[in-house]
């Protein structure tokens, strides 16, 4: 089968396996070892790990640099790219560079507003939005053109060498207006999203209702939907997620369950395992995006408990060319 990017994630999904992605937040420093340490927890047990792009608008090691470090340590990266910090020139140039360095998955995001981060007086960019970014990455890959319409070649005689990304996008079934959430997903699919990672799910009823709409529109057949889950470490974290994180829905029953348990962290993991078990059976779900925030060491335990280990093997590809 012809691959769009040839990434491990793409191959696993194409082979029909239930895919697993994780999240790897780069350090708030130039410490490459911090990336290596997280890679040790994730290597061989997930198809790919998302390398976040200045998440919550806090400056961190760049997602492309973090992604290349991860790649060298045996973890395939999904490089996240937000519209907050770059205009269309910077984005395209970074996408060329990311491909040249071996990156094959790119997640296109709007980005958290700078107000939430550690440089609230910064000027945001938002030259294009996440849907337009998806379109741009797809046109670069499939039409081999820059956004301006020029061919992706160094000189008129040089070969066209286009960046080939497996294109991801986010979907948040818990934001409003609820009736429009599936429409926005449809727009992302139309724009060219090959896979979707959802906001983390705590409100399974609402998620189930959203997935019903997704399946009704047949969107699950045009894109691979990876359901987002984040294990809760404590009742305090559950309350924080409920009260302080925009665009998230945490039912009181979930908070009470964690709060009432003998050990909140064990209960958080048990709840996460139950969620994954349910998602594995849900129509239209192609995999799970397990975001163990600063808790990467628990990923293996959770996947083990859900019977998702060992990961199936797909045909190995030669390592992407560098330089």
């Amino acid at each position: 089968m012809d691959m769009k990017s040839g990434s491990n994630l793409e191959k696993m999904l194409a082979a029909g396996h239930f895919a697993v992605t994780a999240e790897l937040g780069p350090p708030k420093s130039a410490d490459a070892k911090a990336v290596s340490k997280k890679c040790r927890y994730l290597k061989g047990i997930v198809e790919a790990a998302n390398i976040t792009d200045n998440q919550t608008a806090i400056v961190r090691m760049s997602s492309i640099a973090g992604g290349v470090l991860a790649l060298k340590r045996g973890v395939e990266p999904v490089v996240q790219m937000t519209c907050r910090d770059r205009n269309r020139l910077a984005m395209q140039s970074d996408i060329l560079g990311a491909h040249a360095l071996g990156v094959r998955n790119l997640l296109c995001l709007s980005g958290d507003h700078q107000k939430f981060g550690n440089h609230p007086t910064a000027k945001n960019v938002f030259d294009i939005d996440s849907i337009q970014l998806i379109q741009m990455v797809k046109e670069m890959r499939d039409d081999r053109l820059f956004m301006c319409g020029e061919e992706i070649r160094n000189t008129p005689k040089a070969p066209i060498v286009e960046p080939r990304m497996f294109i991801g996008a986010a979907a948040n079934p818990f934001a409003d207006p609820f009736a429009f959430r599936v429409v926005r997903l449809a727009k992302k699919v139309e724009a060219g999203a090959d896979f979707i990672q959802t906001q983390c799910i705590y409100d399974m009823d609402r998620f189930r209702e959203w997935m019903r709409q997704v399946v009704d529109r047949g969107l699950h057949e045009r894109t691979a939907i990876l359901a987002g889950v984040t294990p809760l470490k404590s009742a305090g974290m559950a309350r924080y997620m409920r009260d302080n994180v925009p665009g998230l829905s945490v039912p009181d029953s979930v908070v009470e369950r964690i709060a009432g348990a003998k050990k909140g962290s064990d209960e958080g993991i048990a709840f996460c395992v139950e969620q994954i078990e349910e998602l594995k059976e849900m129509e239209g779900i192609a995999g799970v995006h397990l975001m163990a925030i600063e808790w990467e060491q628990k990923v293996e335990q959770i996947l083990e408990a859900t019977g998702l280990l060992p990961r199936p093997k797909v045909e190995a590809d030669e390592a992407p060319e560098e330089g």
């Binding site: 980005g111 507003h113 030259d127 939005d129 337009q132 741009m136 956004m147 409003d176 926005r184």
Partner: protein, 230 residues
């Protein structure tokens, strides 16, 4: 209208350092309506500066004048005589007024007393709210008269983003999510199907194409020259 707010008094006082005589110059148009720099505000600011000077024991001659518009030569020139006798003009016009007074009056220093905020409407008593981003190419035909460039925190053309909840923006619960407003408007007009279309990337060069934006009208120039128009 152009909406502005007066700068903090300390900042104004600091920027007047070394001046012994100042003309506080108001503007009779936008900033009068938004109560930031009209005749009344000129009077208030002038009194405060006089009081401060007295308390500090410094010598400061404060004069007052308000013209119809600081963005038209014929009115700005009215400030010349009074202004030239002073060390500086403290303009209570918007940023346009400060720049244009500097350009027209040439020899006098012009210091801003206001922070120019946005193009807005008077939405409630004493409340002004931004409604246009002055981007140079209006796209609100696609969003049924509601501007996401000016009113969405991320200027998203294909919203709402994942931070829209209960009709408010993730940035601040006091901010209405403009994409919720657009959605509701489309819904009420029976035009929700339009929201399935992807809006193309914006041509920002229409608003920020290098150097100051300039527009000219030959018909207006002809009238000025006394030529008959159609």
């Amino acid at each position: 209208m152009i909406v502005a707010e007066r700068k903090p008094l300390d900042e104004i006082q600091q920027s007047l350092e070394g001046c012994k005589s100042v003309l506080v110059a108001g503007c009779g148009t936008c900033v009068t309506v938004c109560m930031a720099g009209g005749e009344k505000e000129v009077g208030v600011l002038a009194s405060m500066l006089r009081m401060r000077a007295k308390m500090d024991g410094t010598e400061l001659d404060i004069r007052e004048a308000t013209v119809q518009r600081q963005c038209d030569r014929e009115y700005v020139e009215q400030l010349a005589e009074l202004g030239e006798e002073c060390d500086a003009i403290l303009s209570m016009g918007c940023g346009v007024g400060v720049n244009y007074a500097t350009e027209v009056l040439k020899t006098v220093r012009v210091i801003p007393a206001l922070n120019t905020r946005f193009y807005g409407a008077n939405v409630d008593e004493g409340v002004w709210s931004e409604r246009c981003g002055g981007c140079g190419e209006c796209i609100v035909a696609s969003t049924e008269g509601i501007c996401p460039i000016a009113r969405c925190s991320k200027s998203i053309l294909n919203g709402p983003c994942g931070g829209s909840q209960d009709g408010t923006c993730e940035v601040d619960p006091e901010i209405a999510c403009v994409w919720q407003l657009i959605y509701d408007r489309m819904d009420s007009l029976g035009r929700l199907d339009k929201l399935e279309e992807i809006l193309a990337p914006k041509d920002w060069s229409k608003g920020r194409d290098g150097g100051p934006g300039t527009t000219s009208r030959e018909d207006a120039a002809a009238i000025d020259r006394g030529e008959a128009s159609e």
